[in-house]
């Protein structure tokens, strides 16, 4: 069996076994393709994303874990390091700081950490980055909160 498949299968078993271990992350593998995963992550508390549930799409390369998975937000999110249209994420561990010891689960944890600690100096969403860089934290938070409500929370009534 191909190394990437074997490793993903191990991760799959681990996810099944530890379903309740991290209530903030729910990783699901595609029914027919072990290289396609989706994750639901909860917006971290005390951030404008609190209360929202964000969907991530993972595309795992054949060379995984020697190469990082490609991850993007499917749920719209207003965050300096996430492309507003494509959901692309700017995170060093998904690029040059990748280590094969990371798992899909730990990548989710890193993304949650990124949500709580934006890096406005390397923005993919310039509007969002500029708000933070100019010191308009309130402006940033209200925009982010609005999009969380619009896109990441179940519609009421």
């Amino acid at each position: 069996m191909q190394a990437s498949r074997a490793r993903l299968f191990k991760e799959y078993k681990e996810v099944q076994r530890e379903k309740t271990a991290d209530p903030d992350i729910q990783l699901v593998c595609d029914d027919s393709n072990i290289f396609k995963w989706t994750a639901l992550i909860k917006g971290p508390s005390e951030t404008p994303y609190e209360g929202g549930v964000f969907q991530l799409a993972f595309a795992v390369p054949e060379q995984y874990p020697l190469q990082p998975p490609q991850v993007r937000f499917l749920t719209k999110i207003f965050h300096p390091n996430v492309h507003f249209k494509t959901g692309e994420i700017c995170l060093d561990i998904l690029k040059n700081a990748w280590s094969p010891a990371w798992t899909l689960q730990s990548v989710c944890r890193a993304i949650i950490a990124l949500m709580a600690h934006p890096e406005p100096d390397s923005p993919l969403n310039c509007d969002s980055g500029n708000l933070l860089r100019s010191g308009d934290v309130r402006g940033f938070q209200s925009m982010a909160k609005m999009y969380t409500r619009l896109a990441a929370m179940p519609k009421k009534g």
Partner: protein, 273 residues
């Protein structure tokens, strides 16, 4: 940010540290390999592949690789540990350029898989000691030792080890100082065996006693290397490494496949279990 990543990373590693899992394939560790600074454990194949991936991102191969778990810079990996003996590969070492044994060295290595004693009727070790032939210096011993040790530890640069073992050998044969203790041949031989074993064991591990035997055999022969090889191989029924006949070619290839690199280490491991 950096801190958070660090935390996420250690979570993974602490989960894995308890078990015998390789952090890269998440499976049981195959061919345990350790990074030289942080001593994190990986499968040999996993960590080699990863260091190749890292190297491919640079123009020239970097001399160090960050540990996937703790980011410590490591310069080599240590593997093939069998209880007393290990191998080491440096990160910038091109595995294609690694030392490969010459045909003569392969033949020497294969001698260690034969039963000892098949040449004793030709080269009489006991008589060597009894007749005190050891007082005559052997001018081929250094070259012979170098080839032998290169074959046994499969490294090219063995000069220091050769120098060390040669020093001990000639000292215990009193080539240098001719102060003749009146020792019985048995006692003299025992002393020699002890001294050379002690010198060689850190490098040759489980092969030491056979090595000491082979040294005595070579000394007892009084032959130069070529002649010695010819006699040895004739007795074993092999053709000489110098003769490039079709038959010897295929024979060597055959033998080569049997004594592949891994097999050599498996054999060592088996011996220790």
């Amino acid at each position: 940010m950096e801190e958070n990543e660090g935390r996420a990373m250690t979570c993974v590693s602490s989960d894995l540290q308890d078990s015998n899992c390789c952090p890269i394939c998440l499976g049981p560790v195959l061919q345990e390999s350790y990074l030289d600074k942080c001593f994190h454990k990986f499968c040999f194949n996993c960590i080699s592949r990863w260091s190749k991936v890292v190297a491919s991102k640079h123009h020239s191969p970097p001399s160090s690789v960050k540990c996937p778990l703790c980011k410590t810079e490591n310069f080599s990996m240590i593997y093939g540990f069998d209880g007393s003996y290990f191998r080491r590969q440096y990160m910038n070492e091109d595995s294609g350029d690694r030392f490969t044994l010459s045909r003569a060295q392969r033949y020497r290595l294969q001698c260690y898989y034969t039963e000892p004693g098949i040449l004793e009727d030709i080269f009489d070790i006991t008589r060597y000691w009894k007749s005190q032939k050891y007082h005559q210096p052997n001018c081929w011993i250094q070259t012979w030792l170098k080839r032998e040790i290169q074959a046994l530890i499969q490294e090219e640069d063995v000069d220091i080890i050769v120098h060390h073992i040669l020093g001990v050998t000639s000292a215990s044969l009193s080539w240098r100082e001719q102060k003749c203790h009146v020792l019985s041949p048995e006692k003299k031989q025992e002393e020699f065996k002890m001294a050379v074993s002690e010198a060689a064991r850190p490098f040759l591990a489980s092969r030491t006693s056979r090595f000491v035997y082979e040294v005595q055999l070579f000394l007892a022969s009084g032959l130069n290397i070529e002649a010695y090889d010819a006699v040895y191989m004739q007795r074993l029924g092999w053709s000489a490494p110098g003769i490039d006949t079709q038959a010897s070619q295929t024979e060597l290839v055959d033998r080569n496949t049997v004594t592949s690199y891994l097999y050599i280490f498996d054999a060592d491991c088996d011996g220790n279990e």
